[in-house]
Amino acid sequence: MTTASTSGPARAMGPSLQQQRARAAFWFLAPMLFALFLVAAWPLMRTIWFSFTDATGNIYDGKFVWFQNYVRVQTLDSGKTMYRGVFFDPKWWNAVYNTVRFSVVSVIFETVLGLVIALVLNAEFKGRGIVRAAILIPWAIPTIVSAKMWAWMLNDQYGILNDILLNLHLISEKIAWTARDDTAMIAVLIVDIWKTAPFMALLCLAGLQMVPRDIYEAARIDGVHPIKVFFKVTLPLIRPAVAVAVIFRMLDALRIFDLVYVLTPNSTATKTMSVISRENLIDFSKFGYGSAESTTLFAILAIFVSLYIWLGRVDLTGETSR
């Protein structure tokens, strides 16, 4: 592939130039790293610190308890041994299961849908501008509003979704989407996919836009079937862009909070890791325990992303030439 490039032209030049560039790189990175360190590092460290304390309503009263929020062995008066802490909390593992299930399904749907929409938007047709703006609307509406809006549309008695499905004879009676355990997750997925597919579409589109047009031209002249062009040429070229989009969608999906919180706040079928750690942090005055859950969530996310980067062979540095 002729477009492949790696770490800049330094290879072609002398060592002093490479040094000079490295120095420049440091100064280019410094402001961002400084900002990240100043603003993000402190709260993150605080959360990890709190996870080792038994802090409750008043966060400064906690004392250091090592790993007791994570693992604790308790011997009851009856002589029975109980395992406690986040690692032995069935509610937590239920939340992990919910979150992972939700993330995998939603990200797959969003990626495919996003890619399809991006391909359509990349084609030349009349009214493309309007369509492109229209596509972005779901992403543009604040989540707290769109969640409420959907809760309204999904309502069993006066929700429009049931009405449409009834009119189309797809269902025979009104479904209480957010109330039933078996449909609550579907409801959350419907809304999330609707909301975030545009995000994926826009990023895929940006990737597509960076693909030089003459490649298509060449393929067309050679009479290659468009589907083959897509899989053999387009997809490999936009793969890095899609991979990054998927990572960030994955991170967002695994941390999902507001949508579930508004749509199905207390259903055990949809409670996610963020929802349950918020519950402990804020509602139940278990600040230490909630922080331990957040830290575990952080660890799970880190593992997930590392696995994805490793298994998906996402090229972090660009050093392996394609």
Binding site: F34, F37, L38, T56, G57, N58, I59, Y60, N155, D156, Q157, Y158, K174, A176, W177, T178, A179, R180, D181, T264, P265, N266, S267, T268, R278, E279, I282, D283, F284, S285, F287
Partner: protein
Amino acid sequence: MSFGYRAKAMRATAIAAVLAAVGAPVMAEEITYVSGAVGKAVENFAALVKPWEEATGNTVKMVPMPASTTDQFAQYRLWLSAGTSDIDLYQTDVIWAPQLADHFVDLTEAAKDLAPTHFPSIIESQTVNGKLVALPIFTDAPALYYRKDLLDKYGVAVPKTWDELTAAAKTVMDGERAAGNPDFWGFVWQGNAYEGLTCDALEWVKSFGGGQIVEPDGTISINNEKAVKALETAKGWVGTISPEGVLSYQEEESRGVWQAGNAAFMRNWPYAYGLGNGDDSKVKGLFGVTTLPVGAEGDTSAATLGGWNVAVSKYSKHQEAAISLALYLAGPEAQKQRAINESNLPTIISLYDDPDIAAAQPIIPQWKDVFLNAVPRPSAPTLSHYNEVSSLFWSAVHDTLSGNGSAADNLAKLEADLTDLKGDGWK
């Protein structure tokens, strides 16, 4: 290290800026009051505190918050945990006192003359370990709404027991459906898994004589036959006289069904009264309110106690003025004005016999009966664990209602969980 140096420099600048801002001699103080804001709350509040502002020369700024009480609680807890001094007074829900007690000023001494004029049960709910955490400013209690016209049409009496309600709802519903309204339901209430379900279910259990989950002395009482019977009765409604979706309803969803004229009975708070009599309401003038039914003859009706209070932050820099404002807001003058302008139920007993209030808001004296049967949620005995207790309770109830396990099993499990949570005593 350059980072440390810079941080210090920035901090010094910040402090200088703050000093400059407050440097001017403070004569009249500005008091900040934070509260969930609904309707014209901000405008009404400005009018409400005007006399106090004129009398003391201070000014009051109101910070409006979203209407959701759980969101308010989360914000207040964060601000208080961080020791924010920007807010002097917090408007608090009746169940928050024990959980936020550490952050508020003790008002026992300041309110020693005012407190005895309020309903003792409310003052008690705001007292934690002998410390008066907040002063009540208005109260709230739900009632049973019923369609007068439809009860007359089918010749049924206003139900006194839950069984009567079930039968009446069925009669009316069957009749209305046969008459061509397939969307008609017998009884709507709040079955979503949230704090509101704790309120609804506490009323069923209490009115069946099944106690109040955790008794005032801290005993866990929920696992008993009467509570089981209460929950089983409620389970029987889902899908028969109440739509299956009631399991996702909060107050507004039930009001939606009710106000569209699609329900014979509704359990709701006083706010639905005014809205139900609005010009565009399909049930305008067609309904009445009464106390919630009982389990059987001889049991007493129960209505969960709601309501709001005002607390003074211990991080406030204007505590004296803030306490004075709190006393004013909880006093008879402000409560009367609230009752007349916003139909908030007063907490001062004598105001229920006030002719001006009776003239302006005839519903308020009527609500006194409901209010006399009010039952508090177990926030006082469970202290900082209340939210978790409530969450365990509503989950057990919601599971029962949606058919995940029988009432007996779920309550036995709930008892085990609560015992576990209690450990060697609530703290």
